[in-house]
């Protein structure tokens, strides 16, 4: 294609990129240097490194790790077993369908299920455990988060297992490896890319969840996302909100570099 026409087609896309990708990041960084009164300051950063915010960051990390871990623990066997079923495509679709239902509706359903008089408590009564407080606990927060993120963990792992050459597994078995050794030495290492992609897809959003912390955890859990939302929409201290956002962006970039996603992005281009 001619260079000139090419440029014309590229313009709207580039305008979008400057306006909605570059500018927002620059603005976030810019705003992080201003306090509520609009004066230039480093105070937000000093504040971020105080005990309160550090504790919040650590607990946010801890919850995100828990959520990622449990998602992986449930998703890997599910994905593996899915590849063994007869109507794979259909089963996979059935896994994806719940993820198309608005997250808030699912959260709302769990308010009913975990409520004081909900199904789970009725079940507890019936088997003699008795009524328990489930809603507004750490357990309910982690459970609902895992529930919401699980399709995003299953999909990449499923794809990775599907891509695996089955003759490698036969070879391992022929050479006398037990099924556990085959899994540990052959299947898992070769599907690690899918696991990484799934972990990124779960870990980063779980750092920034804020609606679930309000609806399910009853404000007991404060994630980085909750803090950002609080600063932007409740206390209107945009500077501090932006500072937390800067750190969230840095964490995100670090996670992605560590997981080597950037390299794969380049591969996508070269292919």
């Amino acid at each position: 294609m001619e260079a000139r026409t090419r440029t014309i087609y590229l313009i709207p896309y580039l305008v979008w990129m400057v306006l909605f990708v570059v500018a927002p990041i620059v603005l976030i960084v810019y705003y992080s240097f201003f306090n509520v009164e609009g004066q230039f300051t480093f105070a937000n950063y000093e504040k971020f490194f105080t005990a309160t915010y550090m504790k919040m960051t650590l607990s946010s990390f801890w919850y995100a790790l828990l959520i990622t871990f449990f998602s992986l623990a449930v998703a890997y066997p599910t994905a593996y077993l899915l590849t063994k079923t007869k109507h794979k495509a259909l089963w996979l679709l059935l896994i994806i369908v719940p993820s198309w239902v608005n997250l808030l509706l699912k959260a709302y359903a769990f308010i009913g299920i975990f409520g004081t008089y909900g199904v789970v408590n009725a079940l507890f009564e019936a088997i003699g455990i008795g009524n328990r407080q489930i809603l507004f606990t750490d357990f309910s927060f982690v459970f609902v988060s895992v529930y919401i993120f699980i399709p995003f963990m299953i999909l990449p792992i499923y794809n990775a297992i599907e891509k695996l050459n089955p003759s490698l597994i036969y070879a391992a078995r022929d050479l006398g490896a037990s099924s556990w050794v085959t899994f540990r030495k052959v299947i898992f290492p070769l599907t690690l890319d899918g696991v990484k992609a799934g972990c990124i897809a779960v870990f980063i959003p779980s750092l920034s969840l804020f609606m679930l912390t309000r609806l399910i955890a009853g404000n007991r859990v404060i994630t980085l996302g909750t803090a950002i939302e609080q600063h932007f929409l409740v206390t209107e201290d945009w500077g501090m909100g932006a500072t937390i956002a800067v750190f969230l962006i840095i964490i995100m970039a670090l996670v992605m570099v560590l997981m080597g996603l950037r390299k794969r992005g380049l591969d996508l281009v070269k292919r």
Binding site: V21, L93, P98, N102, G112
Partner: protein, 267 residues
Amino acid sequence: MSNGKFKLSNLYLIFVFIVLYAPIVYLTVYSFNSGGTMQGFDGFTLEHYAEVMQDTRLLIIVLNTFIIALLSAAIATIIGVFGAISLHFLRVKSKATLLTLNNVLIVSPDVIIGASFLILFTIIGIQLGFTSVLLSHIAFSIPIVVVMVLPKLQEMNISLFDAARDLGASSWQVISRVILPYIKPGIYAGFFMALTYSLDDFAVTFFVTGNGYSTLAVEIYSRARQGVSLSINALSTLIFLFTIVLVIGYYYIERRNQRPANGVVSE
């Protein structure tokens, strides 16, 4: 695999599916409860559906949500498709840079997108409401369209362009007669993904919506915080049915995508 092991694995899958669908079934069942709460089923009723149908405010919000979704998906698809086409012909290095920037919005947490767009709109002076929500939805849908369309372009044989040019086609003819028909499945898939992202979005909209304008997700959030109301159940059942229709549509498109296209699409 031994028979017993197979049964155990089936059991596991069934358990996962039960848990996955439990909330949705739960919402649906209680949408027919005459009791008015999500505890104890008193009797069958359709009154909550009638309630939804009479709630003009809610219906307007539903309409808003669909208008935003369709408009943003359509505009994002146009910008994204032309972006992807021009991206495809760039040199490898600049393409890689642009693609990395492209993916920023895909991997960014919603809260960051929402907060940064809020700052952006406030600085530019765009009033929060329909325009800001529409612009944000277009903005976060474009990279998705690009990602869905690019693989289709990469599949294309380069000699197709050369052949078209040799036969005297102008650049626009190359695009409209050769490229667009070939990448059509990718365009549909991109549009569909943009549509679902828009319908599903809560966090970004929540930041840029301002007072007075609301989409379904934001409305459900504020209603759910006030406590249980079974009209939300009725509404979510309706949305779920609609979602199923969308899923079937998407599945159909995907199936068409997987069919190998041989050369130029003949018509």
